[in-house]
């Protein structure tokens, strides 16, 4: 019986703590899981805004970033394969930005030590546009771009 009492007290205690945390604004419902999603960066519309939201200054153009298995002409804008590979030492993250999409930033990938700075994915493109690969390495930003022509748009359905 005493044991049960302990358990109830324990459970009660943790609920109170959670409520306190929620009340303090630390844990807003619905946002708890998305806490580490950079909303500002994904909602910004221009390159400058996106860079600012990502916390970086002006990137340096670099030939050490290459697009891998990325087409020059995409037949279907809804599925455009984009691969980015970086040979810059200490590459920390890779971001894919599409200039003429409603929001430029498509995706960011954080590369921990031990993982090769080379990723590929598929993105949507509303129209033919420049695609930027932004690499953060040792605290500095590097960028390269490629024009992809889209014959059928991917946004707007």
């Amino acid at each position: 019986m005493n044991q049960r009492r302990r358990e109830i007290l324990k459970a009660g205690g943790s609920v109170t703590l959670l409520t306190l945390v929620a009340a303090a604004g630390w844990l807003r419902p619905g946002e708890a899981n998305a806490a580490d999603w950079n909303k500002a960066a994904f909602e910004s519309k221009s390159m400058d805004e996106t860079l600012k939201a990502l916390g970086g200054g002006a990137p340096v153009a670099s030939k050490d970033i290459t697009f891998v298995s990325t087409p020059d002409i995409a037949e279907n804008g809804a599925v455009v394969p984009v691969g980015v590979s970086s040979t810059i030492p200490k590459t920390e993250s890779i971001a894919i930005l599409i200039e003429k999409n409603p929001n430029m930033l498509a995706a960011t990938f954080d590369i921990p030590a031990g993982t090769e700075p080379s990723i590929s994915t598929r993105v949507k493109m509303g129209q033919s546009s420049n695609v930027y690969a932004l690499v953060k390495a040792d605290g500095k930003y590097y960028v390269t771009s490629k024009e992809i022509k889209v014959t059928l748009g991917g946004c707007g359905g």
């Binding site: 899981n33 998305a34 599925v79 409603p102 031990g114 993982t115 090769e116 590929s120």
Partner: protein, 103 residues
């Protein structure tokens, strides 16, 4: 709960190559339905890959990632029989974790 992911992890030399295909609508929030109402955005926001409890890749995605997203990456290490675990969380708070054995 969404459909399971298809994960393939293969040992290539001393690295492990991971390919993932997820099942998700990835609605952009830009499209309109037949009544002219905007279809709300619904997309994966965070993706994490772990191997032996160590994070080997974490990603943040916007709605511009394709429907039924694909991604691939490589990390050093891994042995046959090890498990690679992938988790995604979408903007509605839905999440899914799947794992694959390195082969």
């Amino acid at each position: 709960m969404a459909d399971p992911m298809k994960i393939r992890a293969t040992l290539v030399g001393d690295s492990t190559e991971v390919k993932v295909l997820m099942s998700h609508e990835m609605e952009t929030g830009q499209r309109k339905d037949a009544q002219g109402k905007t279809i709300p955005a619904w997309h994966i926001q965070n993706v994490t890959a772990t191997w032996n409890g160590k994070t080997v890749l974490s990603a943040q995605w916007g709605p511009a990632v394709s429907k039924h997203p694909f991604m691939s990456f490589k990390f050093k290490g891994g042995a046959k029989g090890d498990k690679v675990q992938i988790t995604w969380i979408d903007n509605k708070g839905d999440k899914r974790t799947d794992e694959a054995v390195i082969g």
